[in-house]
Symmetry: C4
Subunit: 250 residues, 4 copies
């Protein structure tokens, strides 16, 4: 009994979204409460690895189900590089958060139907998620570093907001290499956010302006006009024909 | 004598806009003049509560008029969450300023007809209102806080301008939690502002480019061409027919 | 011999552009060389007033030529508020630079034909002009103020670039009220710049995408198909008719 | 045997891209390792001049091949000013990096077919190249200057990212004139980046919204309806005609 990769993906959508949430909770607790007892800390780290394992299994299954032999599988790998990164890169700590993409995909599929409505919901939710995850990762990277000025979650969140909106006051900023990578990711997210908001508004405006335009006149094709003249001529011909055939007093 | 929620809303548009203005004046005075005598201060706070009461009554009336039983009313609540927030959240001080949305709606209905003209007027007026209200709320939040650098209305307005345009020099910036929430709101307004300005310009450009394009050729449908050939054939047929029937010298 | 306001405007385009250039040169010299001898300084200030007088005369002439009695003139005033501001507000020092709009208009009329080409030339030239004029005005406002950090033209230009692109490092920033107004104007120019660049690119992309789309199929209208069937039927009818009339061996 | 400038350009595309890469490698080594032995340093500087010579030869060849006499050649010069700048301006050190445009052109020609796909690849690759080259040039300009705070490649890259995204924290910033010109170039790149990302998204949205719209009803032209009526009338006419001609019992 074989399943297509798409059918598999539909089936595991729920479990993966739950796994991403569990991971987010565990990661949040780990970062936000540095004074955790060792047992709790170990359990949370275990949960982290467990969700990672789920994502790795999911990816392996999809590659197996892709079919088409080695070649088909390599092609599948090539077209799903982001998923491969999510699985391969948990070693680089902040990249673990890429697992949250499973959540974003989950939201995307369940969002409302109209394009602009979907974009609005998606942008709002993913911005909140990116801000929260980015602030977490930044705090984890910066806290305790020499010269660091992001030492609490509140400050980290404030920094994340000033970064994603590209305001960048510079009252607080990352000083570690890891923290700067997280910052770069947030900046890219900010550029994308600005782009999506603007593009969505622009498409709405363009559609509005087009709707307000007078509709194009139905064009009378000269071919049709010529045709009508010919039919009229034909009718006249036929009347003459009939008049000639009929006896005057019939 | 029942009224529809829409008819009600048209009727109370004026009073609510006036109430929002009164509230803005009272709030401005309260914030800008910290050395007010207690009686004046109390009167202004009373005015604040009075305008809040007007908005609460308006919302309650609209829910009542919505009809459709409990279900219809809950649906109305769900579709007018922003108005609900305006009524429920005056406790969080800066959110009182959401009452000014009544002013923005008032402007929106009375703006000029063309889409781009409307957007220009609306963007200009709402940016000024957001800047003024944001600077007020920021000053109220920051003044007197330890380490604060926004201590006068002039500085607060300057900060608001650098924030909404996403420039963010960082010469002054909020340090309190409340002030940072106000800042986040201004940043979101800034992203929206950039988006609306760009989108409005883009729709204008797109319309201009389309107008300059050569209009699509009226397409001659092959069906019409075939039809014309058939009619011509028919006419020829009829002429042959008539020539055969008529006596040579008629 | 009366002239329409438009004909007048075409005629004075050249002199006003030259006047704006003269003013820019005089203003630049005044600001950039604070150690000018008094006589030179007085001459430059005179030039400043002389160009202002030219703009005032031009505006007065246009109002006079507008016709339509007092009412027509007031309507003209209302539709050319920006020009009125240029004339009325030279008292507020940096607003004198609004006279440079005459230069921008001059460029606008002489730019290339295609919309995107025109926008590119116009954006580039007006950005350079705004940067130069903004840096001058900022330097004039800030130099010598207590706590100021913009003291040379180079720094002022650097500040103007960081401001108009909304980067805003905050290594230098205005501290005087006048300087902050100039900064706000540059920020607004920056938002407009971003908007125009993006909108122009977007219209180009939209046009490209539309050009690449397969053209809409010429729609066969069912009405035309029915018509063809009827004509075919008619032809058949006529053939039957003719066959019946003709003698078998003719 | 003459070759057209376009054919020449296609032929030298590969060698020029390789030359640009060699130059980038040599320049990177020169900037990143200030403690190079003199012989290595001299070799790298030689490589720099050698690639410059290649670009100069390429440009001279294209001008020669352009044909059309002196006039045609001057016209070619005027339409390829950017290439002229690349050749003429290696004296201004950071402008040497303009040679990398050969790389960007190379990428552009080999990118995928769909417009959005091409833009995505092109934006990503050119952003990375601009960031790397900008950080190199900034480091070369700033390192060792009095008061400079960009002293390592890591910091320079971090600064380049905060600049191109227009975030601009201001924790590090250029202080030399050369460094500020490099910064201005990166800011312009940032504005263009934002514009291209947004415009590309907007065109995608606009196309999506248009695809989701109900297709325009095929308009029944009144001319066609009138024609059908006439043909029907004609058929009826013919039937009457035939009935009258035929003997009752045939």
């Amino acid at each position: 009994m074989t399943v297509s990769p798409d059918a598999w993906q539909r089936r595991v959508e729920w479990p993966l979204a739950v796994a991403a949430l569990v991971f987010l909770a565990a990661y949040s607790w780990l970062v936000l409460d540095p004074g955790l007892p060792t047992t709790v800390r170990r359990t949370l780290v275990l949960l982290d690895y467990a969700t990672w394992a789920l994502f790795a299994i999911d990816y392996a299954m999809r590659v197996l189900l892709a079919g088409g032999g080695l070649r088909g599988r390599l092609s599948y790998l090539r077209h799903h590089l982001l998923d491969l990164l999510i699985v391969l890169l948990p070693v680089l700590r902040p990249l673990r958060l890429l697992r949250l993409i499973a959540l974003l995909r989950f939201i995307d599929r369940r969002a409302s139907k109209s394009l602009q409505g979907r974009v609005a919901v998606y942008v709002a939710l993913s911005t909140v998620l990116v801000l929260y995850a980015g602030a977490l990762a930044e705090l984890a990277a910066e806290r305790g570093a020499p010269g660091a000025n992001i030492e609490t979650f509140g400050t980290s969140l404030w920094w994340a907001v000033t970064t994603i909106t590209t305001v960048g006051y510079g009252d607080v900023y990352p000083v570690t290499t890891e923290g700067r990578w997280v910052a770069a990711a947030l900046m890219v997210a900010g550029v994308a956010l600005l782009g999506v908001v603007t593009a969505s508004l622009a498409s709405w405006f363009v559609a509005r302006v087009r709707r307000d335009e007078p509709p194009a006149e139905p064009t009378v094709h000269p071919e049709v006009i010529a045709l009508r003249a010919e039919v009229r001529e034909l009718t006249a011909e036929l009347r003459v024909h009939r008049a000639g055939r009929e006896p005057p007093g019939s």
